[in-house]
């Protein structure tokens, strides 16, 4: 089982990602209509939800699953907590620090999909509960960020920080939780997971041509689109600055190493450990920015969105996946 950098890079979906970046950088008129982009991302969530749900129906949750899910939820709360003080070292706008911390506590479904395809190709199994972890890691990170932002706001009210003067009142937590749980992409994943779990093997068969057969082609199309988007965000990079770009690269590795240690001490299986690392190391650029824009309007979306999409996502896809796999295979002896 040899997994070098090329194993991951030389697959059609990843090459289409690079193609998308290239196409945008040379100023081509290749466009994917926004409505189709939305469809592709919903399709991805449906496919991964069905896969995870049907796998759970076959193997059940079990004690292993519960431990993995519990660790995943815990990490999605812890990552924002230790990311925030790191971000505060250089960021003047503490709302930006809270919003970025939230994105990094949450997950990227596309990175998860790319990583699960990667190990499936290598013949390594993982539990269907990994998709449950993916689902459950979204909201705690948002709640943590909102709590951090609330702390910043209350300090501002007391007059200890006067650098930002924003007057709109903060949204109540109930409203924010409603936004987080009813977010379309989040619900799509949960709905598909439940439908997969309820219909089991029969459901898997029925959905196979759609969520299995054409999956790689759809993923290629989606990653082409991601490449186009990443390249068009590159011009925002100068606003992001060296510190935050550095954060976007170093943080996944740090998070990955912490996740690896947890997976090792709790005795995760190899596939579960690898995907657990991927979940903890990735950052959200779809669900979390959509909710954080409501919840922390004082934060600049160009920063947190660009970092998660144009720095951490490509880093994880290109370097992270083979790197984390290498770490796992050394320790688990794959």
């Amino acid at each position: 089982m040899d997994a070098n950098l090329l194993t991951n890079l030389m697959t059609p979906p990843i090459l289409f990602f690079f193609f998308g970046v290239f196409v945008r950088l040379i100023g081509s008129n290749l466009e994917i209509p926004p409505a189709l982009t939305k469809f592709f991302s919903l399709y991805m969530l449906m496919a991964i939800g069905i896969k995870g749900g049907t796998a759970m129906a076959e193997s059940g949750l079990g004690q292993d699953g519960m431990i993995v899910i519990g660790s995943a939820v815990l990490m999605s709360m812890l990552v924002p907590l230790y990311s925030y003080p790191i971000l505060r070292i250089r960021l003047k706008n503490l709302y930006d620090a809270a919003a970025i911390a939230s994105c990094y506590g949450s997950v990227s479904a596309v990175t998860f999909i790319a990583a699960s395809s990667f190990i499936t190709k290598l013949g390594i199994d993982y539990g269907g509960y990994m998709v449950v972890s993916l689902v459950l890691m979204e909201s705690p990170a948002i709640v943590m960020a909102v709590l951090l932002a609330t702390t910043v706001r209350s300090k501002e009210v007391r007059g200890t920080s006067v650098q930002i003067q924003r007057k709109s009142p903060a949204l109540p937590m109930k409203k924010i939780l409603h936004e987080a749980f009813t977010d379309g992409t989040h619900l799509m994943l949960i709905g598909s997971l439940v439908i997969g779990a309820v219909t089991g093997i029969e459901g898997k068969k029925a959905m196979e041509p759609f969520t299995g057969g054409i999956f790689k082609g759809m993923l290629s199309f989606f990653l082409l689109d991601m490449g186009l988007s990443v390249a068009s965000r590159l011009r925002e990079m100068k606003d992001v600055g060296v510190f935050l770009v550095g954060f976007g690269v170093v943080m996944p590795i740090l998070n990955g190493v912490i996740a690896l240690s947890i997976a090792y001490f709790l005795g995760f299986g190899m596939g579960d450990a690898f995907l657990f690392i991927i979940l903890v190391a990735s950052a959200s650029y779809i669900a979390v920015p959509a909710v954080v824009r409501y919840a922390i309007p004082e934060a600049n979306p160009s920063l947190y969105f660009t970092m998660a999409l144009a720095v951490t996502f490509p880093f994880n896809i290109i370097i992270g996946i083979p790197l984390y796999y290498k770490m796992v295979s050394v320790i688990w002896g794959g």
């Binding site: 926004p34 709109s168 779809i286 969105f305």
Partner: protein, 107 residues
């Protein structure tokens, strides 16, 4: 330009797509009788390029406009102004000659 239309105020609001519902409720509460929405508009302002992305609404803008009297127009603009302190947007009030102001009565 000579016109026999009724003088009204046109309120145009460009706002982050995800805050459109909020603007609609501001307009409803102010008492407008109707509005027109352009669900996706793009452009550039003090918050940078609002180019629109398929998979997130964070960088999408929408536009809504309505024709109303001055008092309601001011009410809407005051509320909408609070919103654009934190979100991308523009609020414009202009004079408008409405060619067929009584269409509801004519129906």
């Amino acid at each position: 330009m000579a016109s026999d239309g009724k003088k009204m105020k046109k309120v145009e609001i460009v706002i982050e797509a995800m805050m459109l519902d909020k603007v609609i409720s501001i307009m409803d509460q102010a008492g407008v009788s109707g509005y027109t929405i352009l669900p996706s508009v793009t452009g550039r302002g003090h918050r940078g390029h609002r180019t629109g992305f398929g998979f997130t609404d964070v960088f999408n803008n929408a536009m809504i406009f309505t024709l109303t009297d001055e008092a309601i127009a001011l009410k809407i603009s005051q509320e909408a102004k609070k919103l654009i302190q934190n979100y991308a947007g523009v609020v414009i009030i202009s004079d408008a000659d409405v060619v067929w102001p009584d269409y509801q009565k004519d129906r």
